[in-house]
């Protein structure tokens, strides 16, 4: 009994000591995981294996609840053709900098890397939670706001050449700079305010069938959407958005709008075919100096089918735009071309160029097919077919205008005139990339190409003999010699 009791006591003592050791280890790890005690040493000769001081400083200024999520999905097949190493290199760089961001942010940043090997449930949860769209690589969220960094923003890629089977390759990267920019933007807490005008028969930004989608998109891109009656209420806004307009402006709002434009503030105006003709006329006057305006009519294109070109169907007013129809010269559409995006514009009126003044430059962002026409109202309504009163030809669907040089207050007077209101309402999902890119440009935040650095690639091109020697030594030489030593030892010990 005494021996049993002693054994029990000693056993309990052992277990207690083990529990103490485990507790001590957990406390030790907890202590060393604290931001102040955690250091990272960059062993690379260039000092670029980790984040730059600028990015670290910006990350440290973020509030406690900040979250950085990387989505490492190889979504563009062309980056995998001919054994391209675009994705391995890109993901390697992103993951190491994400980890560095977590460590260097002083514990304020919760980082998460989601990739194709992540459990499907967790992967879907993160995608849904962050409302991630294809092409988005990193999402930084802080204080209810977020910055989205697309894969194209991070890497400058030379695309694969199918003629000579050359794989795509990363020329330059700016992961560190992009993270820094995003952190600076969020840490500064400067959210741009977008006034959505609703006083002239426009849809509401809270209506799911109206402009709720646009409103959510604005929030996602770090804008604060505000519903306003008219331009006269837009004092503290940075951008005014007009989606269709059923009546012309009242004099007070017209005057406010003239002042707004004179101050070179940003405007996104989308007038569809159903907008009030008087309102369209008013806009033509307002935008005359800017060199753009609206024409009446409904843009239609013949539909290509097995039986040839088909007209006379309502589908003719659904304009499918591929990258050939985007401007290759403008910051709004260049990313769409690079991403090979498609847009579907449903119901659009022509946007035109007016004479304008020499202070502003205009660019046609989206255009129709050369066989398009602007369908005018016939006595029997829209017929969706070309008639002699109409004219075939390339028409503009969206035009951007801005100052050649910054104005007095440094503003560029940026305007996007879009001939479709549905693209910001029910058809937003088909044009999300274009609208996002437009909003970024209007907010003065078009894709930055700053901070690009080389990856420091180290290609290895051995001759066949060298490669065979390496292979043979690795698989046969070193293991063989080791096993022979083992055999010799065995033989010696036997003797």
């Amino acid at each position: 009994m005494g021996a049993m009791s002693r054994r029990l006591r000693l056993g309990l003592l052992t277990m207690f000591a083990a529990a103490c050791a485990i507790t001590f280890t957990v406390l030790l790890l907890y202590t060393f995981s604290r931001p102040g005690l955690r250091v990272r040493i960059d062993l690379s000769s260039t000092g670029t294996a980790g984040l730059s001081d600028r990015t670290v400083t910006a990350l440290n200024q973020l509030p406690e609840d900040s979250r950085l999520t990387a989505f490492l999905f190889p979504e563009d097949d062309s980056f995998r053709w001919f054994n391209s190493n675009v994705y391995p290199q890109a993901f390697d760089r992103i993951t190491s900098l994400m980890e560095d961001a977590r460590v260097q942010s002083g514990g304020k940043l919760q980082t998460l890397v989601v990739d194709i090997n992540s459990p499907m449930v967790a992967r879907e949860r993160e995608i849904n939670r962050s409302a991630r769209k294809p092409g988005e690589a990193i999402i930084l969220e802080s204080g209810g706001h977020r910055r989205v960094i697309t894969f194209e923003d991070l890497f400058q890629i030379l695309r694969a050449n199918v003629n000579d089977n050359t794989p795509a390759r990363i020329q330059l990267e700016r992961v560190d700079a992009a993270l820094g920019d995003a952190a600076v933007a969020l840490a500064s807490g400067t959210t741009l305010k977008a006034g959505i005008v609703t006083g002239y028969g426009q849809a509401s930004p809270t209506d799911p069938n109206g402009l709720l989608g646009l409103s959510q998109l604005l929030v996602r891109d770090n804008w604060e959407p505000v519903e306003i009656e008219g331009p006269a209420d837009a004092d503290d806004c940075d951008l005014l958005i007009f989606v269709d307009q059923k009546q012309p402006f009242l004099p007070s709002d017209l005057s406010a709008m003239e002042t707004w434009l004179a101050e070179d503030k940003a405007v996104l105006v989308a007038l569809g075919p159903n907008a009030s003709p008087a309102a369209a006329q008013q806009w033509n006057q307002l935008l005359k100096d800017r060199g753009t305006g609206f024409e009446p009519g409904l843009l239609c294109e013949p539909i290509r089918s097995a039986n040839g070109m088909v007209e006379g169907r309502s589908d003719c007013a659904k304009l499918e735009l591929n990258s050939e129809r985007f401007s290759g010269q403008h910051p709004i559409t260049i990313p769409l071309i690079e991403d090979n995006r498609l847009l579907l514009v449903i119901g659009a009126r022509p946007v035109i160029f007016q004479s304008g003044t020499n202070d502003f430059t205009q660019e046609r962002l989206l255009r129709t097919d050369p066989l398009a026409w602007a369908d005018s109202q016939d006595p029997n309504g829209l017929v969706f077919s070309y008639d002699k009163n109409e004219e075939r030809g390339i028409r503009s669907i969206a035009v951007a205008s801005e100052r050649w040089a910054p104005g007095e207050e440094g503003r560029m007077g940026r305007i996007v005139a879009l001939g479709s209101s549905a693209s910001l309402g029910p058809g937003l999902d088909f044009n999300r990339d274009f609208i996002t890119s437009s909003l970024q440009w209007l907010g003065g935040d078009e894709r930055q190409a700053s901070g690009l650095i080389g990856l420091g690639e180290r290609p290895f091109r051995p001759d066949r003999a060298s490669l065979a020697r390496i292979n043979n030594m690795s698989v046969y030489g070193i293991p063989g010699v080791t096993l022979l030593i083992g055999l010799w030892i065995f033989w010696r010990r036997k003797r």
Binding site: R7, L10, L43, D100, G456, R458, Y476, I478, L483, I489
Partner: protein, 247 residues
Amino acid sequence: MRAFVALWRREVFSMMVSPFAFVLLGVWFLLNGMLFVVALNTQQVMDDLRLLPPFLFGSGMLVWLLLPAFPPLLCIRLFAEEHRVGTLEPLLTAPIRDFAVVLAKYLAACVFFLLFWGGVLLLFLLLHWHGGDLDWARVLGGMTGAILTSFLFLATGLWASSWSSNLVLGAGGGAALNYLLLFVPALFELNEGALGAVARSMHLPNFLDRGFSAGLLDSYALVYMLGLSALFLFLTWMRLVSRRWVP
């Protein structure tokens, strides 16, 4: 101290003259050589040798399959076999502290395991001698991480070895523990809240992939590996001490 050094030297010597250890070493070199050749012959690595260290030391099969299995195999002879052949009792009654016994055996295993990594380093040197422009910060960083991980796995193997005279149980238990250390955090890494945070702070392959193999030394990863190694050595010592009380 002299007894400790003598025991350490005896352990190192006994490994150096063990055919089993060299067979283990040979198989390790063979498997690593094959992994190395497979990785090297991919177009991605040929286009950029900087991807080789993360493949070998980070997310590759070396870490997920080989590394957890080999250290426990080396450790089975340290306690389990001594127990099986009956030489453990004389050792524990010798004029040397129990913890010195544990430490001497562990350090001997660590030193011998450096030979394992020496062979892998030789592969990189081979590449260098044949004109490969290696990013040595990544190679040495990755190797440092892998060595520390193997030291941790040796400590868990030693602890598993101290539990019984059954060699299969010793090696299997150690390997199972190592796989748990690798896979359990990976399973819960994406969880929300405290569970996810704890899993991420214990995710060994992440330390290797996103830190060491990228040429970044992280103080927490170092403390994690060394701290857990120390914990398992302490637990091994406790196990030895308790054998006196509860054989």
